[in-house]
């Protein structure tokens, strides 16, 4: 995992290498200063040698200046390396996500991907900076201080060695215990927040069922649990500071005692004793620093793992070796197609489907919830690959096409569709980057979107807010259809794309399709019989199987499911869908979607 992440450092390698170099330099300066201090006291002050004192003082200032320079450079490179690393990680993830197939996308939740691209990257970036700066600084500083201590007096310095080893051992033990608790408690904590979020969103349900107290009880229990776990974990952490103090104090006392004896025995000078004592603090502070860094790194491991999951994800679909870049016509053929979302699941989503659709035909698809209508059409533009059998477009297996070519020729208006923040024109041009404004207006007319666009103050330059929140559901659907039409596809698939459009407009759109783009094969999934009854043929799906294929009249006469649905919708156009009635708003000159 670490290797995978580090491969994203790329152009910031120099900065990543320079940071520790400067850190080392800074640390060296910091270690030398107390040493000079000692000789200042011994040789300068003892002998009353003022020139010597100033000489050493001057040297110390030079060292301090070098230390400052090194520190600033180190900080600068550190910032560059870590933020650059973060940038590269984000980009690498984003690039990989773009190669994801639908099944890859299904695997990760949207929220999960967002967190990975934002919070997780920030965590790793911070940890990286920490490693470059502190992880180098602390051990080097430790070793330097230790070295200096040994240089001054090996016997006294060995006290440090023992102390450091003992302390490190204890710390490791504490860490091992607490890490386990902390991982658990953070998980629970995330769960708690998730349940708050759930309650915020479902506030109406809670109130409608008068379940406030029930939810409060539930929450109290959960927060009580978390309290207990936190107390346990942090209770152990509470040993760290006293332990540190204990070690520092013991060292001071021991060194004072041993030092005093040695000074008396003329083995040590008072200046050296002072230096030794100041190294004592230095060594132990660094040890403390290391333990903090260690905790931070461990915590960022989870983030690292999550990022790697995205980076490691292999796109489920790949372009063939020699892809075809032309689709002959809009004919579609399903040959014994069986499809499962998950290789291991027993019952297939689509079961031995055989269909033959001619170019230019209009096909209606009807079926109950979970009858796999969407799955069926998603195979045509190869958003998923079949498990068995084959899907042919223009007489060629879809797996032989270049995916971009295929998807440009097979235009799908998804059931769960989105517009992006940007003007209407910008949104439309997703279908064709080079489309002129005239082209855009033409497709909007086809999709019956021109009327409401023209009524907007800024017309085609109206800005669509994030998630298309400033247009109504029906308007959104029509814009999505227009966007798909701009591709000038050979096959057009509408996956329940006019559900929020009133019946009259729905009919107008279909009429426009029939007259304006007769050569395009049209597949229409709908819940309303009226949306499909004038199709050339209608496919009735029932739990992954084709129940019947035929015209409206044929099915009405011979298919039970179809007849049932038809009877349920008697009148054929009686639909009180909210946007159906929003129609009247237009007549009154009010704007539809403004709720």
């Amino acid at each position: 995992m670490v290797k995978k992440l580090l491969s994203q450092v790329k152009q910031y390698k120099t900065a990543s290498l320079m940071t520790p170099v400067f850190m080392v330099l800074e640390v060296l300066m910091e270690t030398l200063i107390p040493y000079l201090m000692a000789s200042m006291i011994d040789k300068g002050i003892e002998n009353g040698d003022l020139p010597y004192i100033f000489k050493i003082g001057g040297m110390m200032l030079v060292l301090a200046a070098i230390g400052l320079w090194a520190g600033i450079m180190g900080g600068k490179y550190g910032a560059k390396a870590s933020t650059g690393f973060g940038k590269n990680l984000r980009e690498a993830m984003y690039r990989n996500i773009q190669t994801f197939s639908f099944s890859n996308i299904d695997k990760f939740s949207t929220a999960g991907l967002v967190t990975r691209l934002t919070t997780d990257v920030t965590n790793i970036q911070n940890a990286y900076q920490m490693i470059l700066r502190m992880c180098v600084r602390a051990p080097i500083s430790l070793i330097c201080a230790m070295g200096m201590a040994f240089f001054i007096n090996a016997r006294v310095a060995s006290i440090y060695l023992v102390a450091v080893v003992l302390l490190a051992g204890c710390m490791a033990l504490i860490m091992r215990f607490t890490m386990k608790y902390f991982t658990q408690v953070f998980e629970k904590y995330d769960e708690l927040n998730a349940s708050v979020q759930e309650n915020v969103t479902a506030q109406r349900v809670v109130k409608a069922f008068v379940r406030e107290d029930y939810e409060i009880d539930k929450f109290h229990k959960a927060s009580g649990n978390i309290y207990k776990m936190f107390v346990k974990a942090e209770g152990i952490m509470a040993f760290v500071a006293p332990l540190m103090q204990f070690t520092v104090y013991s060292c001071i006392l021991l060194i004072s005692w041993v030092g005093a004896k040695m000074i008396v025995g003329s083995e040590l000078t008072t200046g050296e004793l002072t230096s030794l004592l100041s190294y004592c603090m230095n060594i132990l502070m660094n040890l403390m620093m290391l333990s903090i860094v260690f905790v931070m790194i461990t915590m960022s491991f989870a983030s690292g793992r999550r990022i790697c999951e995205v980076l490691d994800e292999e796109p489920g679909l790949k372009n063939p070796e020699e892809p075809l870049t032309e689709v002959k016509d809009g004919s579609i053929r399903f040959e014994n197609v069986t499809f499962r979302y998950n290789v291991n699941s027993e019952s297939p989503v689509l079961d031995h489907i055989n269909l033959d659709i001619k170019a230019g035909e209009t096909i209606g698809i009807l079926g109950g919830t979970g009858s796999s209508k969407t799955s069926l059409v998603n195979l045509i533009s190869r958003l998923y690959d079949v498990s068995e059998g084959a899907v042919y477009v223009g007489g060629v297996d879809v797996r032989k096409y270049d995916m971009e070519t295929l998807r440009n020729e097979v235009s799908v208006v998804l059931q769960k569709n989105v517009l992006f923040s940007g003007t209407i024109l910008e949104n439309l041009r997703w279908g064709d980057e080079n489309a002129t404004e005239e082209d855009c207006k033409r497709v909007c007319r086809l999709a019956c979107a021109d009327e409401f666009i023209e009524q907007m103050p800024q017309k085609y330059n109206t800005y669509i807010e994030q998630g298309g929140s400033n247009v109504s559901g029906g308007q959104k659907q029509r814009l999505c259809i227009a966007r798909a039409l701009l591709k000038k596809p050979k096959i057009l698939i509408l996956d329940d794309s006019t559900s929020a459009v009133d019946t009259a407009t729905d009919a107008k759109i279909r009429q426009a399709f029939a007259t304006e783009i007769p050569g395009t094969t049209k597949l229409i999934i709908a819940q309303r019989i009226s949306s499909i009854q004038d199709a050339d043929r209608i496919i009735v799906l029932d739990s992954g199987r084709v129940d019947a294929v035929g015209t409206h009249e044929e099915l009405l006469a011979g298919n039970m499911i179809y007849r049932e649905v038809y009877e349920a919708q008697t009148g054929g156009s009686g639909d009180f869908d909210e946007n159906g009635s929003a129609a009247s708003d237009g007549r009154n000159g009010a704007k539809g979607g403004e709720a």
Partner: protein, 646 residues
């Protein structure tokens, strides 16, 4: 209607978030907020917090004692021994024993402090979260309309976390630093006044430089936050629409746009971090500079024996000099995080100060039975319900049978007083009748149903329930008598069984299955991996929209209420499933007053009365046949001849 949009809050554990930006936000009256936060802590942990502060004083003093010892070590013990022919170590040993005692106290103090602090912090956090949640649950729906979910969530995560940092770290450390600064300052003054002044001058220089650097980096941090906001928005939108990106082969373009934002973020965060990183080395080296200057000046003093200043004194002073700079730095850092915590604290208290849903109702819903033709209260569940109406005037008690009669009389309503959404609504529903609302988005269909259960209070007019003004009915009882299936189905992270049981907490497993069967949900539930014990996560993300609605219907069915409110409940179920659901719904609706916001013809057709709403007014009313004969708006809708919307 307010938009319901759920902002995604990437949640992380406490302490995992880096506090960004310097020169925190401005808040009014920080003293008051601070006092309130401390008051909140003290409410439950006054004694403990007192002990903690006392322990801090103890451990700081012990530390100072140790440093003082170094002065005496050289001057009073080692120096005299050098002149003795046979060095006497006993005084040194005694002194060390003395100091060891102090050290021991220091260690004990800091251990006590740490341990107690854990309870204080986590306990306060728990109380705070509990209070927040309990309070939030009692807030009126209006609050949720006017605050984004992201903002509310951020109180629980970010704001509570900043408070945690303040209580557990900032304040003790600040206290520690101040005590250290004071005691070190006193010790330095005792050793040598001129050198102390010199040290203070250097501290001033350090603070000045720090302030400038912080200001610079703060500016960049602000830019960074903006860049971060932009890229996060972009990421959210594009991840949401990733499938659309795929369908339109828009990957390359998307990467291009992303890289632009990413580069901008890199620029600003590089600069911000660069300046933030300067702080450490600059302070350290100014510290060293101070050390050198004091050392030189002190040496001059000591060599000349000025004012009886000794070598040992200089050594001690230098140690103080070093330990003086650190706490001063800490104070300035802690101040920054306290300011941030105060801003967080303010938001926390803002939520806690929000007024809870007022409820002056006193009419209660009770089980009832008939005795001698008269209605009396009953302890057991009888299936017969009554409103217990205690008249305020004379204290007499009336029992009114719960039938489900609802009358609107000249009701005006607006979410704000300035803009009315409903005008002069008059309608009545007799017990057991089915009333359908049709009309365009924003016509006020949902709003009307939200008034029956008093999610909102009306501005003018009266709503009567079985002849009682709904204002007089206890909200909880009122809502208990109404079953709701809302427009947005919300499910909870729990098993399917528990989700259905939400409608009636003491429902038996049999009742749950019966309700599921009624709602036609039993079939698909049994096909789930663990059947009724399948755990639903993320608002039932693993279910289809139709299945989620079936569960919502089952949830309402198990509650078995006399009045039902169905808000477009069947809109996402395909026609065929809907028909089956409809049968179940019909069974459920039998004998109950039902208000339904209708989408489908089949729903409206068999309603007793249809209300056609437009811009907050009822413009047509009647049965299906009557309205068709009227050839008005309803007729247009029905025949699909409505003119295309604009």
């Amino acid at each position: 209607m307010a938009q319901e949009r759920v902002a995604k809050v990437p949640s992380g554990g406490p302490g995992r978030r880096m506090a960004m930006g310097a020169g925190g936000p401005k808040i009014e009256n920080p003293g008051k907020v601070f006092a309130r936060i401390m008051g909140y802590v003290m409410k439950n942990y006054a004694v403990q917090y007192g002990i903690v502060l006392a322990c801090i004083v103890g451990s700081v003093l012990a530390n100072v004692q140790g440093t003082m010892f170094l002065k005496t070590l050289i001057d009073d013990y080692i120096k005299p021994m050098l002149t003795q022919s046979v060095p006497d170590f006993t005084p040194l040993l005694q002194a060390m024993g003395h100091v060891a005692g102090f050290y021991l106290i220091g260690i004990l103090c800091s251990f006590t402090q740490m341990r107690i602090m854990v309870y204080v912090t986590q306990g306060t956090m728990k109380n705070l979260r509990d209070d927040l949640f309990a309070h939030m649950s009692k807030l009126p729906i209006k609050y949720f309309d006017t605050h984004t979910h992201g903002d509310i969530m951020s109180v629980y995560t970010n704001d509570v976390d900043t408070l945690r940092q303040m209580i557990s770290q900032s304040i003790p450390q600040m206290f520690n630093s101040v005590i250290t600064v004071v005691s070190v300052l006193v010790s330095m003054l005792m050793l040598n006044v001129p050198l102390t002044i010199l040290t203070l001058i250097m501290v001033a220089v350090m603070l000045f430089v720090t302030k400038n650097v912080v200001g610079k980096s703060g500016k960049y941090f602000k830019v960074q936050q903006e860049a971060l906001g932009k890229i996060n928005g972009f990421i959210e939108e594009r991840m949401e629409g990733q499938k659309v990106v795929k369908v339109f082969c828009h990957e390359e373009k998307s990467i291009e746009e992303f890289c632009k934002l990413n580069e901008a973020l890199f620029d600003s965060s590089y600069n911000a971090n660069k300046f933030a990183n300067l702080m450490g080395p600059i302070n350290a080296q100014i510290g060293n500079l101070s050390y050198v200057i004091v050392a030189c000046a002190g040496s001059v003093l000591a060599v000349n024996g000025f004012g009886g200043f000794t070598l040992g004194g200089l050594v001690s002073f230098l140690t103080f000099n070093k330990s003086f700079n650190m706490p001063i730095n800490q104070v300035s850092q802690q101040l920054n995080s306290i300011v941030m915590a105060l801003a967080g604290g303010k938001r926390v208290f803002d939520l806690l100060d929000e007024e809870v849903e007022a409820d002056q109702g006193y009419v209660m819903l009770v089980n009832a039975k008939r005795e001698n033709g008269k209605l009396v209260e009953s302890k057991e569940r009888t299936g017969l319900w009554a409103w217990k109406h205690k008249h305020q005037a004379d204290g007499s008690i009336d029992y009114v049978e719960l039938k489900g009669d609802v009358v609107f009389d000249g009701v005006d309503f607006g979410y704000t007083d300035e803009k009315m959404v409903l005008h002069d609504i008059k309608m009545y529903a007799n017990a057991g009748q089915k009333i359908a609302f049709v009309g365009s988005t924003g016509a006020g269909k949902t709003t009307i149903t939200n008034l029956i259960n008093r999610f909102y209070d009306i501005q003018d007019g009266k709503i009567r329930y079985d002849g009682i003004n709904v204002n007089k009915i206890k909200k909880a009882d009122l809502r208990r008598s109404l079953g709701m299936v809302l427009q947005d189905t919300h499910l909870f992270t729990a098993t399917v069984r528990e989700n259905i049981r939400f409608g009636k907490l003491d429902a038996t497993d049999e009742e749950i299955v019966a309700a599921a069967k009624l709602a036609n949900a039993d079939g698909f539930i049994r096909q789930l991996p663990q059947g009724y014990d399948t755990v639903l996560t993320g608002d039932g993300a693993n279910l289809s929209q139709g299945q989620r609605q079936l569960l919502a219907i089952a949830r309402a069915a198990v509650a078995d209420p006399p009045v039902l409110i169905l808000d477009e409940a069947t809109s996402s179920i395909d026609t065929r499933t809907e028909k089956i659901v409809q049968d179940g719904m019909d069974k459920l609706m039998k004998g109950r007053t039902t208000f339904v916001i209708a989408h489908r013809l089949s729903t409206v057709q068999n309603s007793d009365c249809i209300m056609v709403l437009e811009q907050g007014r009822i413009i047509e009313r009647g049965t299906h046949e009557e309205l068709l004969a009227e050839k008005g708006r309803y007729y247009q809708l029905y025949t699909g001849n409505a003119i295309a919307e604009g």
